[in-house]
């Protein structure tokens, strides 16, 4: 009991202090950020390669986006949803064969050398196009980058490339790394991949495996008065339940990427001094998808796929598994996408009777034990929610007489089983929508992708009509026509069900009230945090 009293008193005192501290400045200058301070936050994974130009993934961006900057960042109110970073302006030629970037003046690398267009040319040609997981598709036709002067970079393409796609790709795919650090030796083995050098508001200071990453303020940053923080420390807390406790104990001030389990949010939102923020992830929408192996004779039948779609209660999934922090999906583009989404697609309302009828029609009658056929189901192990949805899907399929056997794997084994060995019938996957279907969405259904490419169509699905739309959209320069083609694409995917989109979700941040300027852009957790500050 005595422990309880002490902590309660401590909490009261702490919250009183907090109240006082936030109340005072709020009277005069509510929005003035304060300088200094160390932000400690939870990190749940420890990426080894921190080079965002090579590994364009949110786990890497979470840390390295503060160190290495992109040409442009996503924005809530900027033109085309962008705000300038290393590039001040970008313009696409009418023929789709070139894009001109005007670069920011007076930017210095962390080692003091000036940032020039040569760095952009080097990053694009030597890293984004040949080495980057996402850049390989988007920049596949990039032929050369001309640098008429130090602050101009002109990308020229061998085939017409839609400017809309390049624009949408800028926030995630255009991390610029210094040429002078990378030009000698093999880029993949460069030591700067583990201790990145960039132009960002924070410099990489140290990494202690299993403990923390530490970033320090870049005093020579180009942003006026920025950054406000002196230090950012990523405390490694792999156990999801410990992040909430660490927040309450004031050991950390921020837990992003839903490090606090959804089931805990209701309780933690009532803790004084903590706030739950659902904004700031609009540009990072994850999709809950049932991947289908079309090599299985039963699953190659459209009626069976429709039956499975009808058997899934999407509202239940959103309400019970995501506790409301998600939306039901209608197709391969999430509802929150402002450019491409269309609701005008075939839908599959939850209807067990109809699903059973479809299976009967397809010729898969129930045997004496009530089962029609058995399937192997591989839920991706990356998120609690994907695993739980696997458990749910097994039950949903049992209701229509399909006996699904769950196979659990660790991350590496799951990727190998699904994307290389094709040893699955159904899999639960969380692909990411990155603002343009051509970046990482069409690859989920396109045919002709070599074995072993993760998060791509490895289910043996082939649809000439859909392939034609994807190819045509990748060559269409007119933004309106291109958008129309992707609406067509959504209709076709929803009609033929190469995969089943179940839900779309994003992440939640929990922060102490003292952390300011949170969630002020659609990719906030993976942006540069130059304007983030701490009231103390």
């Amino acid at each position: 009991m005595s422990e309880l009293t002490i902590s309660r008193r401590g909490l009261l005192a702490g919250s009183a202090l907090l109240l006082a501290s936030t109340a005072l400045p709020a009277i005069g200058f509510a929005q003035t950020p304060k300088k200094g301070g160390r932000l400690v936050l939870a990190a749940d994974s420890e990426p080894r390669n921190l080079n965002p130009a090579i590994v364009a993934s949110n786990g890497v961006f979470f840390i390295s986006s503060k160190i290495v900057e992109t040409l442009a960042e996503a924005s809530f109110d900027g033109k085309d949803g962008l705000q300038p970073r290393l590039a001040l302006s970008w313009e696409g030629a009418a023929d789709g064969l070139s894009v001109t970037f005007k670069l920011r003046d007076g930017v210095k690398w962390h080692d003091g050398k000036p940032f020039t267009s040569a760095d952009v040319a080097f990053s694009a040609l030597q890293i984004w196009k040949p080495l980057q997981n996402l850049g390989r598709t988007v920049f596949k036709d990039l032929e050369a980058v001309d640098t008429p002067d130090e602050l101009t970079a002109v990308f020229t393409f061998a085939e017409p490339t839609p400017f809309q796609l390049i624009r949408n790709a800028l926030p995630a795919l255009s991390s610029v790394v210094p040429k002078h650090v990378y030009e000698n030796g093999k880029i993949e083995d460069n030591p700067a991949n583990n201790a990145p050098v960039g132009t960002g508001p924070f410099k990489f200071a140290e990494y202690k495996a299993g403990q923390y990453y530490r970033l320090t303020r870049n005093d020579a940053y180009w942003g006026k008065d920025e950054p406000y923080l002196d230090e950012i420390v990523y405390q490694v807390l792999p156990d999801r339940t410990s992040a909430a406790a660490a927040l309450e104990a004031e050991e950390i001030q921020l837990a992003a990427f839903s490090a606090v389990p959804l089931a805990d949010l209701d309780r933690i939102s009532k803790v004084p001094g903590l706030k739950v923020i659902t904004k700031g992830y609009e540009g990072l929408t994850y999709q809950l998808v049932v991947e289908i192996n079309h090599r299985r004779k039963e699953l190659a039948d459209l009626k069976v796929r429709q039956a499975i779609a009808h058997a899934i209660d999407k509202d239940f999934v959103v309400k019970t598994i995501f506790l409301g922090y998600a939306a039901t999906a209608t197709g391969p583009v999430p509802k929150n996408d402002p450019q491409f989404y269309t609701a005008d697609v075939p839908t599959y309302p939850f209807d067990v009777a109809k699903a059973n009828a479809l299976l009967d029609e397809a010729g898969y009658k129930r045997a004496d034990d009530g089962k029609r056929f058995a399937l192997k189901l591989l839920p991706a192990p990356y998120f609690n929610e994907t695993k739980q949805f696997g458990d749910y899907l097994r039950q949903a399929l049992a209701a229509i007489g399909i006996d699904a056997q769950i196979v659990n794997n660790d991350s590496a084994a799951h990727i190998k089983a699904v994307y290389t060995d094709h040893a699955f019938d159904l899999a639960v996957g969380p692909p990411v929508f990155r603002g343009d279907p051509a970046i990482s969405t069409t690859i989920l259904v396109q045919s002709g992708i070599p074995d072993g490419v993760p998060f791509s169509n490895q289910g043996g699905y082939k649809n000439a009509e859909l392939d034609a739309i994807i190819v045509k959209a990748s060559e269409t320069l007119d933004t309106a026509a291109r958008t129309e083609l992707y609406k067509e694409f959504q209709k076709n995917v929803a009609a033929d069900l190469p995969l089943i989109n179940v839900a779309e979700w994003s992440f939640i941040s929990v922060a102490r009230d003292t952390v300011g300027n949170i969630a002020n852009n659609p990719r906030w957790a993976v942006s540069n945090w130059a304007d983030t500050y701490l009231e103390s």
């Binding site: 089931a263 209701d266 097994r394 039950q395 056997q405």
Partner: protein, 276 residues
């Protein structure tokens, strides 16, 4: 009868026998009380216990009936515990008897293999085995047996070393019995009681190992296990602690019951020995 009365002599043994009997009833009646898939969604998610009498212990994160899961989990725990212990005792007794009876090089070789298995921490061995072959009930049983047979092997060997010098063995040799026949028909039955005394420890350890493997996500995902239930409940530990506590208590009681009953057996046999 006499033996049973002697077994029920101590209060520990009574308590142990009672818990085990209860567990056995739970395991056997699970399909009667809770027919169908215990993992089926039975009601609203995270229903607290004692709210709805059709779901007395409430529901978990997905709305599955916790009581049904508890009953079916008892089946898995008991099945794995007993099967793994039986396999471990069988392997151990055979290896120990062969080593003790044959002596010489065979003894050396078999005992060094036993050493090798004993030097690897048993849980790590089970963990490695399951993560390589893939989790299913049979593999989990094999993994646990693989890490538990060394104890019985050593005890069996020690017993055999003394028994093989007895007159009955010499007699069997004289009438021309095959050495293997002597080993398994004359020696092994006599060496068995002390080996069997290990069984309670092995069953208890096997149940715990199975729970630990399931907790780490290496159990059979298509079956309810108590370890898996605890792991599932961990994500909502602060909001619905009973989801972890209920299977945890069940697990503890089971291991305690097995242990107490085992103690009772050992004591009753000790009394019999001292009497004779």
């Amino acid at each position: 009868m006499k033996r049973l009365r002697r077994f029920l002599h101590t209060p520990e043994a009574i308590a142990g026998a009672f818990i085990l009997a209860l567990l056995l009833v739970m395991a056997l009646t699970a399909p009667l009380f809770f027919p169908g898939d215990p993992q089926a969604i039975a009601g609203p998610a995270l229903l607290p216990p004692f709210q709805d009498w059709s779901l007395p212990l409430g529901t978990d994160r997905l709305g599955r009936d916790v009581l049904a899961e508890l009953f079916h989990g008892a089946r898995t725990s008991l099945a794995v515990g007993l099967a793994a212990a039986a396999a471990a005792l069988l392997i151990g007794a055979v290896v120990g008897t062969l080593a003790g009876f044959a002596g010489g090089l065979v003894d050396e070789a078999l005992m060094r293999i036993t050493d090798a298995f004993q030097t690897v921490p048993s849980f790590l061995l089970a963990l490695a085995f399951v993560s390589i072959i893939g989790p299913s009930l049979g593999v989990v049983v094999a993994a646990i047996a693989l890490s538990a047979w060394t104890g019985p092997a050593r005890v069996a060997r020690a017993e055999v070393l003394s028994i093989r010098e007895r007159d009955c063995v010499a007699g069997a040799r004289v009438i021309g019995m095959h050495p293997l026949e002597i080993a398994f028909r004359e020696v092994l039955p006599n060496a068995l009681p002390p080996v069997l005394a290990l069984s309670s420890v092995i069953v208890a350890a096997a149940i715990l190992t199975e729970a630990a493997l399931s907790f780490l996500g290496l159990g059979d995902p298509n079956r309810v296990t108590w370890g898996g239930m605890i792991a599932e409940g961990r994500a909502v530990l602060r909001t619905a602690p009973l989801l972890s506590i209920v299977p945890g208590v069940a697990l503890m009681l089971t291991v305690l019951g097995v242990y107490l009953a085992g103690e009772g057996v050992v004591e009753s046999t000790a009394v019999r020995r001292s009497l004779s």
